[in-house]
Symmetry: C2
Subunit: 123 residues, 2 copies
């Protein structure tokens, strides 16, 4: 396991990479879930998304999200807690993330944003 997950700095976040990252249905679902959850808790574990695919596939997608600057990941015990980099994204691309999340919400039934599994029950 790489001990320290690598993140781009705010200025290193690139528009095409962010758009490409968001264009994958699984990654869009992850971002959407993270956004939905924000009022309750800003972070989620990777394992909370096991309904979206195999472990190794999710690790791949989480790495992409992290490397393009959409998410921040920190290690807590054996888990990885991931949250959206809202402030950095808003600074670089004002209004973009909100527009994407609202668009995803509008199409929540077409996009498979909520697979069979229910995500979390936070105390």
């Amino acid at each position: 396991m790489s001990r320290i997950p690598l993140h781009p700095t705010r200025e290193q976040i690139e528009l095409p990479m962010v758009l490409d990252c968001l264009s994958d249905p699984i990654r869009l679902a992850i971002v959407y879930q993270l956004a939905q959850q924000e009022r309750v808790s800003s972070e989620l574990r990777c394992g909370d998304f096991s309904g979206l695919g195999a472990k190794s596939n999710l690790a791949y997608h989480f790495a992409k999200l992290r490397e393009c600057g959409l998410t921040q990941t920190r290690i807590v015990g054996t888990s990885r807690m991931t949250r959206l980099r809202r402030e950095d994204l808003e600074a670089r691309f004002p209004g973009l993330l909100d527009a994407v999340i609202k668009s995803a919400a509008k199409d929540a039934d077409r996009l498979q944003l909520l697979p069979e599994c229910e995500v979390v029950d936070v105390g």
Copy 2:
């Protein structure tokens, strides 16, 4: 040549396809140019973008833009006039296109939005 370019209906426009389409630097440059030009003329010819690549490659990218619902193309003589589907996009994904275009404008120097060629001189 396909005589009638095919376009998705407004409702057929899908978020992941739009984001994927916008994530390619060449297509982003095309969309950006179309947006910049809108005050002068809402349409541009494919040939106006010859600085962005070979003819056949541009035809490929223009087809992608059209098929995902970002642009509308009509035939005028031997030319194809292309414009952004602003109203349809705004109806489906409010604020999204504007956010992308403004973000691209902010990063205009990183992204190669303006290749060697100057685009158009409209009467």
